[in-house]
């Protein structure tokens, strides 16, 4: 009896195409448990066998247009970044760009979680717009995890698994390290500042607009 059961378990070579089919059928990352759930109990592979098949699949992908990635919610076959330029031309819309305000708010929540709006405002020095919080909740990148027990019981925000999935991360530990303390300033292509100046316009505006080409707005993405 037990021999019969053994005989029906799947060989690694059989398992691999099944795993690939599952990953390419699901429109989300799949956890090991989800993959296992589709097998009959008698044939169900163990985590070890499954991981072996996944590793083999990942190796096969080296020469392919896709790669196997483990993100927070599980495993995903994804189009390699190097093809993004051409692949994105299949669609009319441009990939969304997010404002610095949104990204800074998201970064603060990601690195400091749980964080309240007040925490974010304290670091950024400006009020957090409700639209930004709503957009982040809407994208399911952040959620309310509770309330801080201080006056007003402000909401505590944390990031979600979808956030990690979207940004191609396995866990919060994979976030780029937060700078310890700001480094010595990098050279900023600031022009020689005019010396003696009489008034605001001279002193400020001219140099300001000298290195700021309004039409290129390169400082918008300045690496300070």
């Amino acid at each position: 009896m037990s021999m019969a059961l053994k005989a029906t378990t799947l060989k690694p070579a059989t398992l691999k195409p099944i795993v690939e089919a599952l990953l390419l059928a699901a429109d989300r990352p799949l956890a090991l448990e989800e993959m296992k759930s589709v097998f009959d109990p008698a044939q169900r592979p163990g985590n070890g066998e499954l991981r072996e098949a996944l590793a083999s699949l990942a190796a096969d992908c080296e020469q392919r247009g896709v790669e196997l990635k483990e993100v927070a919610s599980g495993f995903r076959l994804q189009i390699r970044a190097e093809h993004a330029g051409r692949v994105n031309r299949l669609w009319q819309e441009k990939p969304p760009r997010y404002s610095r305000a949104l990204l800074e708010t998201l970064a603060l929540i990601a690195y400091r979680q749980p964080a309240t709006r007040g925490d974010i405002e304290q670091v950024r020095g400006v009020a957090v717009s409700s639209a930004i919080i709503r957009t982040l909740v809407d994208r399911e990148w952040i959620r309310v995890s509770g309330h801080r027990e201080t006056p007003g019981r402000p909401e505590l925000f944390v990031t979600t698994r979808q956030f990690l999935d979207h940004f191609n991360l396995g866990s919060l530990a994979d976030l780029p390290p937060l700078g310890e303390i700001a480094e010595t300033p990098e050279a900023i292509e600031a022009p020689e500042t005019p010396k003696a100046v009489l008034n605001i316009s001279d002193q400020f505006l001219v140099p300001f607009f000298e290195d700021v080409q309004i039409d290129d707005l390169s400082w918008k993405d300045h690496q300070f």
Binding site: P96, Y98, L108, A182
Partner: protein, 287 residues
């Protein structure tokens, strides 16, 4: 905003070609009478929409300050508060002169800078104890460094490859119609509930729209000038109106600072730590 639009508003592009009497000329005129002007020229050669671009570019007072510091290639730890304050105040005045409603945070920062500046300039009482007196800049420096950390973190976050930009979920078709990928079940009630929620949200959005407060430094300056006269000293505390709240105090303070900078008022403090008084500067002293 198209590139062409922006280009047209770039002073570098337009000012050399301008005829006399336009922006450049008025700039020169302003320079000659510097110290005697109360308001920035209303026909500043930078059109408001270009300024809007600048304003939108900064994510708040800390971001603006960081820019001012970094563009001079200064280490944050060695900020020249006096210089930075002047530039900062110049910037926000420019914004106000162009009828921008600045967020109150910008005003608060101006006041903070002014306060730090004054603490650095004022003679300090001899330190009695061995404990060093904190550098008045330290809190500001800490804030700037902290903000910069997250600003960089946000940039790094933006550079991560992400779904729908560099990456896409790979999907293959399903073999036949019977195995069509199942779709979520949605009831009409789900739909209606979602709509009701959206409408409620829209309503909140509508009603919580915060109006910018209408106290401008410019108005305050005119107001202060009207109340002062050359013969009479008025106590500084009398300039503040408690009913205007925190923002009012900040704006009043800014206005006073501005009048001092332009040498339009004199500050008198008869006793060491006694009340400070203001009066209009005499005609010969303003130069």
């Amino acid at each position: 905003m198209s590139g062409a639009d922006l280009q047209a508003t770039n002073p570098q592009e337009t000012s050399p070609a301008r005829p006399a009497g336009s922006g450049n000329a008025s700039l020169a005129a302003t320079a000659q009478v510097a110290g005697a002007v109360v308001e920035l020229p209303s026909d500043l050669y930078i059109p408001p929409n270009a300024l809007a671009v600048c304003l939108d570019t900064f994510e708040g007072p800390l971001d603006l300050l960081l820019y001012l510091v970094r563009r001079r290639n200064i280490d944050i730890l060695e900020i020249d508060v006096a210089e930075i304050t002047d530039q900062y105040v110049a910037y926000i005045e420019l914004m106000q002169a162009s009828q921008f409603e600045l967020a109150a945070e910008y005003m608060v920062m101006a006041a903070t800078l002014a306060e730090i500046k004054s603490r650095i300039l004022l003679p300090r009482p001899e330190p009695e104890e061995a404990g060093e007196e904190a550098d008045p800049r330290s809190e500001l420096v800490r804030q700037l460094l902290e903000y910069e950390r997250y600003k960089l973190a946000a940039e790094q976050l933006d550079e991560l490859p992400r779904i729908d930009r560099e990456l896409r979920q790979a999907l293959a078709g399903l073999p036949d119609r019977r195995y069509e990928r199942p779709q979520p079940a949605v009831q009409l009630s789900d739909l209606l509930e979602a709509l009701a929620a959206a409408l409620r949200q829209a309503e909140l959005f509508e009603h919580h729209h915060v109006r910018g407060e209408s106290i401008s430094t410019e108005d305050k300056i005119s107001h202060l000038l009207a109340n002062l006269d050359r013969e009479r000293f008025l106590p500084l505390v009398a300039m503040f109106d408690a009913r205007e709240g925190r923002l009012g105090v900040v704006v009043t303070f800014l206005a006073v600072m501005e009048l001092m900078r332009k040498a339009l008022v004199e500050i008198v403090q008869p006793d060491g730590f006694g009340p400070i008084h203001l009066r209009l500067a005499g005609p010969g002293e303003s130069a």
